[in-house]
């Protein structure tokens, strides 16, 4: 029995496989080649927000055949801390990025709010260039368009996903394939009356 089947048997709303590990690996390899051309002769810094981008960052780094460095940041989750406090970094970059070629590595871009925030925040630190790559692009609710999203792994349907680093409250991240989540079985998080 696979991990997904065990979770499903335990009642977790893990649906069918949307992308197999092989399909993801093949696309990540292609992205690595695209980025190797874009950053030839440079020494880019790949920056990923924790935690759901961690698996993609690790695979993309190994697929990128140019010298590069890695760093991670962590944003406080939406709604944490005092009300109206806004986004804050739980972990900032380890070193300055002024003059560096920075590539933000995202797992999913949806509204663009997170990537928009990171873009505004990083631009103030004066990198030489700032671009972004995402494994999954879900553009249907895009609110922020002025984001430097130059490379996309897969444009996916308007569904929720688990696996390959994506999870819910720390669960499901280790699933090697990308699964659909049966969203109807998740609680509606707001009073939409």
């Amino acid at each position: 029995m696979t991990a997904a089947e065990r979770l499903r048997a335990a009642g977790d709303p893990i649906g069918d496989v949307y992308l197999t590990r092989e399909e993801i690996a093949a696309r990540v390899a292609e992205l690595g080649q695209e980025l190797a051309v874009a950053y030839a002769g440079l020494d880019p810094l790949l920056v990923a927000p924790l935690k759901s981008s961690a698996v993609f960052l690790a695979d993309l780094s190994r697929a990128l055949d140019v010298d590069h460095e890695l760093d991670v940041i962590e944003l406080a989750p939406y709604g944490s801390g005092r009300r109206g406090g806004g986004v804050r970094l739980l972990k900032d970059l380890d070193r300055p990025i002024a003059g560096r070629d920075v590539l933000l590595v995202e797992d999913v871009v949806d509204t663009g709010l997170t990537l928009g925030f990171l873009t505004r925040s990083f631009v103030e630190r004066r990198p030489a260039t700032l671009a972004a790559v995402t494994l999954l692009d879900r553009p249907y609710r895009r609110l922020v368009d002025d984001i430097p999203l130059g490379h996309v792994g897969f444009t996916v349907p308007d569904e929720l996903f688990a696996g390959y680093g994506l999870g819910l409250e720390e669960r499901w991240r280790a699933l090697p394939d990308l699964h659909l989540v049966v969203a109807d079985e998740l609680p509606a998080a707001i009073d939409a009356a």
Partner: protein, 156 residues
């Protein structure tokens, strides 16, 4: 020629309607607006008067925008769709949010998707009469997805 009016000048509506203009939600849901005193101070709100949200979905949207520091206004403009022979406004559309930095209006509806035909028709009229205006309609399902993503941290 298509026309709009800003909230501050809405009292000029010759139909003599409420000074803030009718919203789709008011008309279709019969909901009661929140008192301004119930709303928290928003950091990114750019309106002149406290927003008076109709429902939790609107408030949730405002909080998400505010969290990410995206400047927003609440119902700043009504788009006139039709007038009668006397020039009185007989149909208008007032999107819930306006993002000035994106030049984008957002309409939030909590109606079930099967019941939004009238709203979709109005939206098509706005897009026909005001082709340069960008409006996105967020359905109940969209808001629930956003809330799931941002609150429950799925696929963030």
């Amino acid at each position: 020629m298509p026309e709009t009016w800003r909230r501050a000048t809405a009292t000029a509506d010759p139909a003599g309607r409420a000074s803030t203009g009718p919203s789709e939600a008011d008309a279709t849901l019969g909901t009661v607006r929140e008192s301004p005193t119930e709303t928290s101070p928003f950091q990114a709100y750019r309106g002149s008067e406290p927003p008076r949200f109709v429902n939790g979905a609107e408030r949730e949207c405002a909080q998400i925008l505010d969290w990410y520091g995206i400047p927003w206004e609440y119902e700043p403009r009504s788009f006139v769709l039709r007038r009668d022979a006397q020039g009185r406004v007989t149909s208008a559309f007032t999107p819930d949010f306006y993002l000035p930095d994106q030049d984008l209006y957002i309409e939030v509806t909590v109606m079930k998707q099967s019941l939004v035909t009238r709203k979709n028709r109005k939206l098509r009229e706005v897009r026909h009469l005001y082709p340069d205006v960008r409006i996105k309609l967020f359905y109940r399902r969209d808001i629930e997805r956003l809330a799931q993503r941002y609150r429950l941290r799925i696929a963030s």
